[in-house]
Structures are given as C-alpha cells and as structure tokens.
Amino acid sequence: MEYFTQQLINGLTLGAIYGMIAIGYTMVYGIIGMINFAHGEIFMIGAFISIIAFLLLGTLGVTWVPLALLIVLLVAMVLTPIYGWALERVAYRPLRGSPRLAALITAIGMSIFLQNYVQLLQGARVKPLQPVISGGFEFMRTENFSVVLSYLQILIIVLTVILMAVFTLLINRTSMGRAQRACEQDLGMASLVGVNVDRTISFTFVVGATLASFAGLVFLLNYGVIDFYIGFLAGIKAFTAAVLGGIGSLPGAMLGGILIGLIEAFWSAYFTVEYKDVAAYSILVLVLIFRPTGLLGKPDIEKV
C-alpha cells in the first residue's frame, strides 16, 4: 500500500508534465489538423532556457528560492513561446493547404533542426542542476519504507492546477479564446465571420509553447538533468497522451497525460523499468485500434 501510494504520487507528477505538453499537441491538431512533431523540442528549449536562467540568477546572487523560481518561470514562459511562434511562422504557415505529408515532413525537419541547434549552441553533454527545493513530508511510515511527498511535488501539482485554471479561463472567457474555439470548429467559416485566422493560429502555438515551457521547467526541477534529446521521447509520450485523451479535447489531453504518467510509474514499479517506453507505445497502439477517438474525443465522421 505504501509503495502504491508512492508510485501514485510519482505518476501524478510525471503525468502533469506529459499533460502540459499534450495540450500543445491537441490544440494544434484541433486547429490545423497537423501533428506538430517539433513540439517536444519546444519543451526541451523551455528546459534549457530555465537552466540558463537558474545559473544566471545564481551568479547574480538571487538565492531566495521563491523569488528565483518566480523569475525563472516568467523568463521561460516569455522566451520559449517566441520559438513556438517562429516555428509556426517559418515552417508551417507557408505550407498551409499543402498535402498533410508535406507538413509532417517539415515538422520532422524542424524537430531535427532544433535538436541540433541546441546541441551546437549548448553542447551535447548532460546538463545537471543542483536541487533547488529539497525535503518533503514523510508519512505512512513503516519499519523499512515510508512514503515521501516532496515539497517539489506539491509545488508542481499546485502550479499545474493554477496554470490549468488560468488556461481554461483564457480559452473559455477571453475573446482570443473564443476565436481559438471558433477556428477549431471551422477554419473557413471563422475567417468569413471576421476572425483573424493567422493570428489565432499563432496564438495557439504561443499558448502551447507556454505550457510546454512550464513542463520543461518542471522536468528540470524534477529530474535535475537535461540534454538536447529529452524532447523526442517526452514529445512522443505527450502525443500518446493527447491521443489517449481524445485528440482535440483539452481536458482529454490533461487526463491522458496523467494516465500515461501513472501507467509509466506503475509499470516501472511492478514490472520492468526497461520496457516502460514499450508500455507507453503499446497503449498508443491499443487505443488507436479499439477507440480511435480517445477517451473524451468526438467521433470523426468521414463524408464522401
């Protein structure tokens, strides 16, 4: 039971990361119907900008942890979306309306480009960061095992909930969010009634990248090491989460992310760590075969 609770906590933390990235996939897929393969790299860039900001603050002498965290969060969430915006502007906008395959190839190309861009600029070595927040609550103590809920995990979960609330408000209550939902339903119709489609799509990429940069910061805090390759695997799993939750559905993306996180944590705990990625892929395959619309997705009707 103790072990189970511990894995539940770990899985939820992991799931928050996947869910945050998955929202970016699902929003982009919902609005322009393409898999933004480079979204995982945006997450990776977010993690790199975060580590640079932490190191800079360290040299500047900002050591009060809450302030440092706040500054890093703001820096990452402001600077990373520029990459998301530029990605759409440079690589995807010229291809709007061309075959889907072309857009996917461009996305893969962009993913390779960004990975190597970061590798060239920041070096291929693994980048470690000293733990920023340590300690935690211990409970359910038995003689040889106790469940640890670290302060970091609490912070991650609280921040995720706050961010999700802000994000939900943004989509449901603001005019930009309304335009976003309109474009998701029908791009052509939305433009006919005066929605600026280009700007709305850019907005989608910016929002997705903001959430991904938060996931990058959380990843950095949680694992303490990053390299230029983390975006690939996290991206695939987040995509799996988006499909599992039902692509196009925002709550579905978060739900899918948490499920994938839990499955991965429990699989590693009770079966084998080596095959945890296989577990994630198998779920993707199974979901697509038996329930292609995902858990919360709307069925996709094909008209002739």
Binding site: T106, G109, F113, I289
Partner: protein, 509 residues
C-alpha cells in the same frame, strides 16, 4: 560590415521597410538572446555560464539587413541591394582567403572582421549575400519583381516533367555511370564507401516508395524492418553458421512477416495516426533489441557477422586451409578494395532489383489497386477492392525490401547494434522519398545523392550535418511541398480517336 540600406531621394516606402526589418530583427534578437547569448559550460562541480552577446548582435543586424533587402527587392529597387550585396560578398570572400593574400598577422586581424568567427556560419553568410546579389541582378535584368509562387510552381513542375521524360535517357546514363564507377580513376576507398552508402539509401528509398509513394501509407517506422532484416541475418549466421546468400531470402521473409504482424492491426488507421503508430513500432523494436540481452546481446551488439562470398569464394588475404579465395581463384594479386567493389555491386544489383520490381508491379492489378487506394479509399471500397489486404501487401513488400537492405547493412558493417536503428534513420529514408517527389523513382536517386552523398563528402562540416539536414528538409518542403521532382503523369490514357472515326451511335444523328 554591410552598408546602410537607407532610403535616399527615391520614393521607397521607408516606413514599411523599417517596420518589417525592425520586426524581423526584434524576433531574431529575442530568439538568439536566450540560447545564443548564454552558453552553459561544464566546469568541475557543476555548470558555469559564458556570454556571447557579440554573436547575438551580429545575428540581429544581419537579420535586419537581410529583411530590408527582401523588402527592397519586393518594392522593385534591386539597385541598392545589388550595390550593397555585391561588395559585401566580395569583401567576405577576400576576408575568408586573407591567409593566402596577406601576411599571417594581417590576416589574423582581418579575419576578426568576419561576422561570427565560426567558419561554416561565416561561409553561410557569404553565400546568403551572394544569393541576394544574384537575385538583385536577376530582378534588375527582368526590370521588376522576381517570379511569383505560381510561376515558380509551374516552372518546377515543367522541370519535374522534363526530368521524368529525360529519365528514359538519363536513367541508363546514371546506371552506366554507376556500373563503371569502381573502375574510374577517382574511385578510391572513400568514394566507394560513400557510393555504397548512397546506393543502400536509394534501395531503402525505393522500398519505402512502395509503401509511401504508391500505397500512400505514411510509415515512420521503416527502420524497424531494416533492423529485423539485419538481426535476422546476424543471428542466423551466428547460430546456424549460414552465409549471406542463404540468409538473404530468410531475412526478407522475416521482415515481410514482421510487416504483416505489425500492419494487420494498424493499417485501418488514417494518415497521421498511422505515422505515429508506425513510429511507435519502430521504437518498440529498438527497445526490445536493446533490452533482450540473452538473444540480441543488447547494447553490446552482434559482431563478427560473416562477409558475403562470391559464389563461395571469400575475400580474405589468408584463408583457412583448403579454402580457395577470390584472388587466388582468379589469379589476381590480393587487394582489400576487391571486397569493397564486390559489396558495391551487390547493393547495386539489389537496388536495381527493387526498382525493377516496383516498375513491374505498378502495372499489375495489385499495383494499380495501391495507387487507386492512395487516391480515394472510399471509391476503392465501393469497387470491391479490399483495402486492408491491399495495404498489407504494400506494407509487407516494402518491409521485405527493408529487410534485404538490413541484411546487406549487417554484412557490410560486420557489426550491428540497436544504435544504428534509431528514429532518425526512418526520418532520413522518408525524407528521401518525400523530397524526391513521392512515387518518383528517379527522384529518390537525386534525393539520396543530395541528402546522403553531399553530407558525406563534406565530412568536415560534421557537426553541422544534421542541422543542415533538418534545415534542408524544411526549406525544400516550404519551397516545393510536392517534392523536388514531383510530376504525376496519368498511367493510363484514353486512346486518341482518329479524326475520321465514326462518332458514337446516337450522337451523330
């Protein structure tokens, strides 16, 4: 460096110019500021930060100038662009070669004026400046703007059509060149190795073209079948002591079986989903190869894979007692290049067989069904084509060629490990197919030479290789989404009616 592109007395829309160029410069600055401006450095006991703001500023300035030049070209003022870009190009080239012209000290001082100090990127800037100069010159010649997008599309389509028509002549020419290549004076060991690599990718591209180009199934996990082929051969050879030629059909069969097993559940998925699931399968196979240590030796890989023989004659210098070798059989002096040349011909024949197979099967009912299915699945269903079985044939035949390619890879390297079968390989092969123009056999050849051959020749740019690769994928797709040589001729024509033929009864009343 570059001069001002200021708006003098002519009525250039200066406001637009500064607005656009300023916005571009701002974006580039914001992009570069974080990742270019600061670098994390490994120091004992953690990380340190070094700054590179000079590079950020140079990049921003270059972005401003470049965008300004674009705006000027668009507004129809090529002259100031030409007047700036040409001297800048010449100046940069002189700076690059300052070693040869001036003394070492002066050259060192002069080189400091190069924008970045990293040779490759400086050359890139030079090339960009030259491109601007050329574009401005063309625009000036044509007394106006450059080509519109549609004009360019049409022109590229014409080129594609022309190349396809020329392929009838060009194909045999390229083939002839490929056959005599090992005997040309320039063909040293390095060139041959590159040629083998390029032909391997051409073969894989042709194999994947069956799946992606003909059947329209987007497969991002092609490397899985490549891996299955390679491991099948390596394991058969190690456990049952079989040679390359015996194992080759088995490897292909294994890969085709893997294709059927993987394809059966997933082939009813559409486009993008299929892509991601196949990607997942590719990664799964790699992870299994990595972790199933007792069977595949995991990350250590399999070594000592036997080399192919020429009708039973091995290519070794000192064979074991009683075994005749290639050079002793033909009374030749032993040369290590013989083996390389032999490998080259093996893969060439395999690639040609793939090509021939594809060309022939396109004419068979199943090939026609693939192409029809690619165009419209619902129409095919209503005409009684079983989509799943038809797709499965394409998927497994493509997988089979992947398996052949894989066993060739294993025998060439003599060592395989899961490292060689990453997602990047799949992406490279897919990029070859798509960049060449899907379904175009000659396009695959050009794309493979472009994407595999060129980076191998410019090995010095090693660290920029994948960067350029990704950038090329994006640029080519943005420039021409259908692929470089995409031009689709209808495979069937209605026969032309002779002018004096009787018209259809009833119409000619």
């Amino acid at each position: 460096m570059a001069g001002e592109t200021s708006a003098d007395h002519t009525p250039i829309d200066a406001q637009e110019l500064f607005k656009e160029a300023g916005a571009t410069a701002l974006v580039v600055f914001a992009l570069c500021f974080s990742l270019v401006g600061f670098k994390t450095e490994d120091v004992p006991g953690g990380l340190d930060i070094i700054t590179r703001f000079d590079d950020v500023l140079v990049a921003t300035a270059l972005a401003f100038i470049g965008r300004a030049a674009l705006v000027l070209l668009r507004q129809g003022y090529p002259l100031p662009v030409l007047a700036t870009a040409l001297p800048v190009t010449i100046l940069l080239i002189v700076l690059h070669f300052s070693d040869a012209v001036f003394s070492t000290d002066t050259a060192a001082v002069l080189k400091r004026f190069l924008p970045f100090g990293a040779p490759v990127i400086d050359w890139l800037v030079t090339i960009l400046a030259a491109v601007f100069a050329i574009r401005a010159a063309i625009a000036r010649q044509r007394a106006g703007s450059t080509m519109t997008t549609e004009e360019r599309e049409k022109a590229m389509d014409r080129i594609g059509a022309r190349v396809q028509r020329a392929a009838r002549i060009l194909g045999p020419l390229i083939l002839g060149f490929a056959i005599i290549l090992p005997f040309l004076p320039m063909a040293d060991r390095r060139i041959l190795d590159i040629a083998i690599l390029v032909v391997t990718y051409i073969m894989l591209g042709w194999g994947l073209n069956i799946v992606v180009g003909l059947a329209g199934l987007l497969d991002l996990g092609y490397v899985a079948f490549y891996a299955v082929g390679a491991y099948s051969y390596a394991l058969l050879a190690q456990h049952y002591d079989l040679g390359f030629w015996v194992c080759l059909p088995f490897a292909g069969l294994m890969a085709a079986t893997a294709g059927i097993i993987l394809g059966f559940p997933v082939l009813r998925l559409r486009g993008d989903y299929l892509a991601i699931v196949t990607l997942g399968f590719g990664e799964m196979i790699r992870i299994i190869l990595l972790n199933w240590y007792e069977f595949t030796k995991g990350p250590d890989g399999l070594s000592g894979i036997p080399r192919p023989t020429f009708f039973g004659l091995p290519f070794t210098r000192s064979p074991p007692e009683g075994v005749e070798t290639f050079h002793s059989f033909f009374n030749l002096a032993y040369s290590p290049t013989d083996r390389i040349i032999f490998l080259y011909y093996v893969i060439l024949v395999m690639a040609l067989a793939t090509n021939l197979f594809t060309l022939r099967i396109r004419k068979l009912p199943v090939g026609r069904a693939w192409e029809a299915l690619r165009e419209d699945e619902i129409a095919c269903r209503s005409l009684g084509i079983n989509p799943r079985n038809t797709k499965l044939t394409a998927f497994s035949i493509g997988a089979m060629f992947g398996g052949f390619g894989g066993s060739f890879f294993a025998t060439r390297q003599g060592f395989i490990s899961p490292e060689s079968f990453t997602f990047i390989e799949s992406a490279v092969i897919l990029a070859i197919v798509v960049l060449g123009g899907m379904g175009s056999q000659i396009g695959v050849v050009f794309a493979a030479i472009l994407l595999i051959g060129l980076p191998e020749i410019f090995r010095e740019l090693h660290q920029y290789r994948m960067l350029a690769f990704g950038a090329a994928m994006v640029l080519i797709m943005v420039w021409r989404p259908q692929g470089l040589l995409a031009h689709r001729e209808p495979t069937l024509h209605l026969p032309e009616r002779p002018p004096d033929a009787p018209r259809v009864a009833g119409a000619a009343k």
